[in-house]
C-alpha cells in the first residue's frame, strides 16, 4: 500500500505543477476601492446611471438608463473598446454589473470575474467547484450577480447561493439552497431587498417544488421561504389533483422586481410539471405560470395573478416584471407590464394584482382571447397529444426570459417576440427523483427562417404594436433603452445593434458573429459612456470614437 501511495505521489507531482501553473494565471488582485453599495443606493439606482447595480438596472426593472452621451445623433460612431474572452467555452447569458468603474461578469458554468470596466483587464476570478452529475435542463448558464455592501451574491448550477468578497473574489459563504441531485439548480441573478438576498430556483423540468427564498447577506442563513406551490391545507393546494403538487415544478428561474413604496416583491413562476402532460395534475395548478406579490419583509403572498391556469405548453411566466406608472383610462396607475411567453400582453395594477387589460402581442392559437378577469379563453383541441398537435406559440414562447424594457420618454414597452408554431407531444411518465419529468416535448416542422422574429414596441395603454423591427432567426436577446433615445439589443445571427426607440429605425449595427443570448447594459467611467453585450463566449464593450 505504501508503495502504491508513493507511486501515485510521483505520478501526480507532474500534474500538480501543471495545476499550480494554471492557478497563477488567476492569482488574486484586489480591485480598487469603491463606495459600498447601500440599500438606499439600490432603491435610487436610476439616479446613478454611471453604475449598473443590479440585473435589470433598477428595482422597477425598466432597463432604462439615464445616460445620454451616446444618442441617436452619434451612435453610428460607436467602436469596440475592449473584449473579454470568457475562458470556459459555453454560452454567455451574463448581464454584468458595474460599480465605480469595476465590472462583475458571471461566466458559465458558475464563475464570476471582476474586470476594469475601462479596459477589460482582470482583477480576480472566482471559480466555483461543481459536481459532475448536475441536473440542468438547458445548458450551463449564469445570468449575473447581485451586490450589497462590498459583497456579491451569485446562484450556482448545483443550487447553491454563494457570497463573494467583491474586492478580492474570496468566498465568504456558500449555502445549499436545495439538493441538486433532486433536480434543483440555479441560474438567475439574486435581487437585494433591504437587508435580504432574494433568490429563486430552477428545475421545472425535474418535478421540483418551486419557491422564493430570502437569505441573510451576512451569514447566508435562510430567513424565509415562500413555496410557489401551496402545501396541504394551504389555499390553492386543491388546484392540484392528488399529490401532484409535490412534484409540480413552478420554478422561479429569473430575477424579480421590487416596489419600495408598496413594499412588495414581484416574481414570476414557471411551468407546472410535468410540462406537457396535464392529466396527472388536474386543476389550475397554483401558483404556476403566475406572478406573485410578496411582502418585502416576510415573504407572505399578498396577491397573485395566474397568466396560464393549468398550462400544458410550458408557457412559463418567467419574465421580468416591469413596474411603471402609466395613464390608464385618464388616470395614472401603478401598473405592472408583462409580455408573457403565452403570447398575451398584460397590464396589471401592481398594488392589488387587478387585471386591467390585455391582448395578444404575437401569434396565438391556443386561446382566443382573455376574459374580463384576464383568464385565457381556451381553444379546444390545443392540448398536446400522443400524435402531436400544432400550436402557437411554440415551446420557446412568444417571448421568454429575455429582458424587456420600458422607456418612460417614449412610453413604449419593448419585447423580443416570436411568431412560430410547433407540434406538441404528450407522453406518460412516472416521477423519479432527479430525473426529467416533462411528459412530452415539441418538434418544429418548418425551418426557423420560415418564422418571424422581431423587437416589438408596444403601447402599454392600448397593447397596440407601434413599430416592429424584424430580426432573424429567432432572437433570445434582451433589450435596454437609454435617455439618448436609443434601444440596444442583439440577435441570434450575432449582431449587436441600436434602434431609434421612438421609431424603430435602424441606427447602428455590428456583427459579433456569435449568438447574442444576453441583455445589454450601459455605464459610464471617467465621463465616458460605454455599452456592453455578451455574444457567444465574449463580453464586448463599445464606446464613442475618441
Amino acid at each position: 500500500m505504501k508503495r502504491l501511495f508513493l507511486l501515485v505521489a510521483i505520478l501526480l507531482s507532474g500534474a500538480f505543477i501543471h495545476v499550480q501553473a494554471q492557478e497563477q494565471q488567476f492569482q488574486t488582485v484586489i480591485t480598487p476601492a469603491f463606495t459600498p453599495i447601500t440599500w438606499e443606493r439600490l432603491v435610487n439606482a436610476a439616479d446613478e446611471p454611471q453604475n449598473w447595480l443590479m440585473y435589470s438596472g433598477a428595482l422597477d426593472s425598466q432597463r432604462h438608463s439615464l445616460l445620454d452621451q451616446i444618442n441617436t445623433e452619434n451612435v453610428a460612431e460607436l467602436e469596440m473598446k475592449w473584449a473579454y474572452q470568457i475562458p470556459v467555452i459555453d454560452r454567455a447569458e451574463t448581464v454584468p454589473l458595474v460599480v465605480d468603474g469595476i465590472m462583475f461578469i458571471t461566466e458559465a458554468p458558475s464563475n464570476v470575474t471582476a474586470v476594469d470596466a475601462r479596459t477589460g483587464g482582470v482583477y480576480w476570478r472566482y471559480d466555483h467547484d461543481l459536481p459532475e452529475d448536475l441536473r440542468i435542463c438547458c445548458g450551463r448558464n449564469n445570468r449575473g450577480v447581485a451586490i450589497l455592501g462590498e459583497t456579491l451574491f451569485m446562484s450556482t448550477l448545483d443550487a447553491h447561493l454563494v457570497a463573494i468578497d467583491a474586492r478580492t473574489g474570496n468566498l465568504l459563504w456558500n449555502t445549499e439552497v436545495a439538493p441538486y441531485a433532486s433536480g434543483y439548480s440555479k441560474t438567475a441573478a439574486p435581487l437585494i431587498v433591504k437587508d435580504k438576498v432574494i433568490t429563486g430556483i430552477a428545475g421545472g423540468e425535474f418535478g421540483i417544488r418551486g419557491f422564493i427564498d430570502a437569505y441573510d447577506p451576512e451569514t447566508g442563513e435562510l430567513v424565509w421561504r415562500t413555496y410557489t406551490i401551496p402545501g396541504p391545507g394551504e389555499f390553492g393546494n386543491d388546484t392540484w389533483s392528488g399529490d401532484s403538487w409535490a412534484t409540480g415544478g413552478s420554478a422561479t428561474w429569473i430575477t424579480g422586481s421590487y416596489d419600495a413604496e408598496l413594499n412588495q416583491i414581484y416574481w414570476g413562476t414557471g411551468n407546472p410539471g410535468p410540462d406537457w402532460n396535464g392529466d396527472v395534475r388536474l386543476g389550475d395548478n397554483l401558483y404556476s405560470d403566475a406572478v406573485l406579490a410578496l411582502n418585502g419583509d416576510t415573504g407572505e403572498i399578498e396577491w397573485y395573478f395566474q397568466f396560464t391556469p393549468h398550462d400544458v405548453h410550458d408557457y412559463d411566466a418567467i419574465q421580468i416584471p416591469i413596474l411603471a406608472d402609466i395613464e390608464v383610462g385618464g388616470e395614472m396607475r401603478e401598473t405592472m407590464l408583462w409580455a408573457n411567453r403565452n403570447g398575451f400582453f398584460y397590464t396589471l395594477d401592481r398594488a392589488t394584482g387587478e387585471f386591467l387589460y390585455g391582448d395578444t402581442f404575437a401569434t396565438v392559437t391556443w386561446a382566443s382571447g382573455l376574459d374580463p378577469l384576464g383568464r385565457p379563453i381556451r381553444v379546444p383541441g390545443m392540448a398536446p397529444t400522443y400524435e402531436g398537435v400544432m400550436v402557437s406559440p411554440p415551446i420557446v414562447g412568444a417571448t421568454n426570459w429575455y429582458s424587456p424594457a420600458f422607456n418612460p420618454d417614449t412610453g413604449l414597452f419593448y419585447v423580443t417576440s416570436f411568431d412560430g408554431e410547433q407540434e406538441f407531444f404528450k407522453r406518460d411518465e412516472d416521477y423519479e427523483e432527479g430525473e426529467r419529468y416533462t411528459g412530452g416535448g415539441g418538434r418544429y416542422t418548418q425551418p426557423m427562417d420560415a418564422f418571424h422574429s422581431s423587437i416589438r414596441a408596444i403601447d402599454p395603454t392600448t397593447v397596440d404594436i407601434v413599430w416592429e423591427f424584424p430580426i432573424m432567426p429567432r432572437s433570445s436577446a434582451g433589450i435596454t433603452t437609454t435617455a439618448g433615445g436609443l434601444l440596444f439589443s442583439g440577435s441570434a445571427d450575432g449582431f449587436f445593434f441600436a434602434l431609434d426607440a421612438e421609431t424603430g429605425e435602424e441606427l447602428w449595427n455590428v456583427s459579433l458573429s456569435r449568438r447574442v443570448h444576453a441583455a445589454p447594459m450601459t455605464y459610464e467611467v471617467d465621463g465616458e459612456q460605454f455599452v456592453t453585450i455578451a455574444s457567444g463566449n465574449v463580453v464586448f464593450t463599445f464606446g464613442l470614437r475618441d
Binding site: F5, V8, R91, G139, F425, E429, R436, F495
Partner: protein
C-alpha cells in the same frame, strides 16, 4: 497546516483513490461485446428515455436543436463511430460541454437501449434494396435529363440547386423519390428566391444565398452575386418556393428509380 500542503495532500488522496479505482473496480461493461440490448422493445425503451432526457437539447426526434446546441444524431456522428464509443459518450458525457453524463442511477442496460435507439435511426446503405440501377441513373442524370443544368456532383454541373455530391448520406431512397415528385415540399430556405429592388432602383431576383438580420445576398440567373443592406432596399419580396419542377410526368417510373439509385450511391468515399 499551510494551504499548500493541504492542497498536496488533497491531490495525493485523490490520486490514491483513482489508482485504487483502477485496481479494484471492474472496467465499464462498454468494452466490446456488442450491444446485447437491441430488441424492438429495447429500442422503444431507448426512444422513451431519449425523448424524456435527451430531447430538450438534441430535439424530440433526435434531429438536433440549433438553439440548444445539441447536434443531429440521426446521421453520421462526429464524436463516436462505434456502439461502444456512443455508449461512453452517453455514460461519461463530454467534459467541458453541456453534454453531461447520464446520472449514475441509470443502469448500463438503459444506456445500451439508448445506443440501440440511436442505431435504429441509421441504416446500412448496403442493406437497402433498390428498384433502379445506379449506372443507368448516372447516364440519365448527366445526359438523359436536365438534372445537371441545376445540380452539381463532385464539382461537375451547375449551382442553381443543391450540391448532390453526398446526398445519399442524408436522404433515403423514398425521400429522394419524393423530392423529385414534390419538390415544393420542405424547400430549404437557402433555395428560396428573393426579389429585391436595390438603392439603384433596379429590381433583381435570385436565389437566397444568405440572409441575416441586416443584409441579404442573392445570386441571379446569370450567376452574379448581389449583396445589399436591408436598410438600403426599396423593396423586398420572399418567394418561399423551389425553382425545381416535378418530374412525375416527364420521367418514367423506371427512369425515376434509376436516378434514385444513382443519387443514393452518392456519399463520401470511405478512406
Amino acid at each position: 497546516m499551510s494551504k499548500l500542503s493541504g492542497f498536496c495532500v488533497a491531490w495525493l488522496l485523490a490520486g490514491a483513490a483513482f489508482a485504487l479505482s483502477i485496481l479494484l473496480i471492474p472496467r465499464s461493461l462498454a468494452e466490446d461485446a456488442g450491444n446485447l440490448y437491441n430488441t424492438v422493445v429495447d429500442i422503444r425503451l431507448g426512444e422513451r428515455y431519449f425523448e424524456r432526457q435527451c430531447g430538450r437539447c438534441h430535439g424530440f426526434d433526435a434531429t438536433g436543436n440549433d438553439e440548444a446546441g445539441g447536434p443531429d444524431l440521426t446521421g453520421r456522428l462526429t464524436r463516436a463511430s462505434t456502439d461502444v464509443a456512443i455508449f461512453n459518450v452517453i455514460r461519461d458525457g463530454i467534459p467541458g460541454t453541456a453534454m453531461l453524463p447520464v446520472p449514475e442511477n441509470v443502469t448500463d442496460p438503459q444506456v445500451w437501449q439508448l445506443v440501440a435507439y440511436l442505431d435504429s435511426l441509421r441504416y446500412d446503405p448496403e442493406s437497402v434494396v433498390l428498384a433502379g440501377d445506379a449506372e443507368s441513373g448516372s447516364d440519365l442524370f448527366w445526359s438523359g435529363s436536365d438534372c445537371a443544368d441545376c445540380h452539381m456532383v463532385s464539382g461537375r454541373g451547375s449551382r442553381f440547386g443543391p450540391d448532390l455530391s453526398r446526398i445519399g448520406e442524408n436522404r433515403a431512397p423514398d425521400d429522394l423519390l419524393a423530392d423529385m415528385l414534390n419538390p415544393q415540399e420542405n424547400v430549404a430556405p437557402r433555395w428560396w428566391r428573393l426579389r429585391v429592388t436595390g438603392p439603384d432602383g433596379v429590381s433583381r431576383e435570385g436565389y437566397r444565398m444568405n440572409e441575416d438580420s441586416f443584409s441579404v445576398r442573392i445570386m441571379d440567373d446569370d450567376e452574379n452575386l448581389w449583396s445589399f443592406h436591408k436598410d438600403d432596399l426599396q423593396s423586398y419580396e420572399r418567394i418561399e418556393e423551389s425553382t425545381m419542377p416535378s418530374y412525375a410526368q416527364s420521367l418514367s417510373e423506371s427512369d425515376l428509380d434509376d436516378i434514385v439509385a444513382y443519387l443514393f450511391s452518392l456519399r463520401r468515399e470511405e478512406i
